[in-house]
Each structure stands twice: as C-alpha cells, then as structure tokens.
Assembly symmetry: C2
Homo-oligomer: 127 residues x 2
DNA sequence: CTCGACAGTTACGATTTGGTACCTACTGGT
DNA sequence: ACCAGTAGGTACCAAATCGTAACTGTCGAG
C-alpha cells in the first residue's frame, strides 16, 4: 500500500491528527475510493463484476484492495463455495460511514471544478 | 506522486466520481494531509517550522508536497527575500474548504477509534 | 476434449518512490 | 575562522509498488 506515514514516528503532538492516519492509509490506495464508490453506487457486487466496472484494474490489485478494505472492516466478503465459486462484496455499515465523507469531498471537488470552469471562461473573455 | 487513477481510462460512467480524482490525487500524497492539518491548526508557518512540526519528513518531500499544494491553489507561498530568506506558507481560502472535509474525516476516524477501543475492552472482558 | 469463466495466487520484472548526502549563498554567534 | 540556520536543489540508491503472465481447480458449453 501507499506509504502515508513514514518509517519515522508520525508525531502525536496534535492529538486529533492521529486517528486520521489510520483512515487515510486505506483511502489512499490507488483504486480504493473507486471501489468503495462502485460498491456504494451499484450495490453489492461479485468480483468479476467489480473488476469489469472498475475497468483497468488488475485482478491482483483488486484482490489486494478488497482484502485491505475487508481487513479494515469497510467491506464484507461473502464466499459461497458453489461451483463455480461466488464471492460477493458489499459495504459494511462502517463502509457506509465513509461515503458520507466521500460525499463532502465530492461536493468540494465539484464546486472547484465549476469554479475553475468559470474562471477559465472569465479569463478568455477578458483576454 | 502516488498513482491514484491508473494509466487506463478512469471511466466516466458514474459522472459524480470524476472530480474526485483530481482532489484525491492531491490528498493522497504521503504527508499532504499532515501538512494541511498543521497549517490549519497552527496557522501560517515557515518552512523550517513546518518541517520541525511534521517531524520525520525530509526537506525534499516537504518541498515537493508544498509545491504540489501550491500548484493546486490550496496553499500560498510568501517569499521574503530578506537575509536569511523567510518563506511563509499558509492555507488559501480554497485550502480551508478542504479542512471541512478533513474534519468530517477526523470525526469518523475518531468514532472508529473509540469504537475499536470499546470492542477491545468488551472482548477482553468476555474472554 | 479443449476452452472459457469463476476467483483468485504466485513469480517476475520494470517503474516509481522517497531517503541520504551533499551543494547553493548569506549572516550571526563564538 | 568555523559552525549553525535559513530555504531549498540535485544526484544517487535502495525499497516498495504495480502490471503481466502463468498457474490453481472445477464446471458447463461447444
């Protein structure tokens, strides 16, 4: 995974900053938010479905991300030992708490995007 | 920087997911949130001050992160060509929009942390 | 009888990353 | 005279990361 907090101690001075480390370490994986986003938008999905949806991710990465998210308790893995095996991933309640944050983030992102578009338009007009 | 969206097309199906890419690409840098957090908590700071505060970061990383954040318009760099030079970094209004999100995130992070502590305690008691 | 799908795992290899050490140029302290 | 600090830049190198390709085992389809 991406190394967020380095080998050296992350410092605890702030106090409030520390819990963030944990949460950020997960969200920061390359595809993580994409996966959570998909799980939340399209509901529980199977491995192959998810892989097709996230388009571009390798099976390896997807597996790794899913394991990480599962380990963090954000998603649930339902394995049915049928032949062929059926594995369904879904967000846990804890996972859903996260998309509150993602929504806020998206809100800001969208605002910035439209602001940038507006500025660009204004600049072009002024020039 | 950490590669969030891979070489392959990030897919635009969702529509709402795309602006996030931009914003996440920044936040996901190793120390990024730490820096923003410090800037917001302790106010505008000079390079060395920040470096001491973030404790463990190398000058190289700090410089790189600050440049990225500056380029994204999240922080402002005030260079006074005194001897010795004095460079002060501060959050821009746009940067402050972000810490709304960080607060929400911290909120969740703190909740999880206390939940985990509670669970741990319960488990120990049950055992 | 061979091929594809399912849900992965493993090995290998290239790229990227981030740390360390060393450099700038100037000043103030001892 | 020499060292520390200010704000970095640069080169090199080890380590981590991520993609690709090949493998697991069983089933149904062709």
């Amino acid at each position: 995974m991406t190394q967020i907090t380095p080998s050296a101690a992350p410092a605890h001075e702030g106090g409030a900053a520390c819990p963030m480390d944990y949460i950020l370490r997960m969200l920061m994986g390359p595809w993580t938010t994409y996966i959570v986003y998909n799980l939340r938008t399209y509901g529980p999905q199977r491995f192959g479905e998810l892989k097709r949806r996230v388009a571009g991710i390798s099976a390896k990465m997807l597996t790794e991300r899913l394991r990480t998210l599962e380990g963090a308790g954000l998603i649930k893995r339902d394995y049915e030992a049928t032949i062929p095996p059926k594995v369904t991933y879904s967000l846990t309640p804890r996972g859903h708490e996260l998309d509150e944050v993602l929504e806020k983030l998206a809100e800001v992102a969208i605002r910035w995007q439209s602001e940038d578009r507006a500025n660009k338009g204004a600049e072009l007009k002024a020039a």
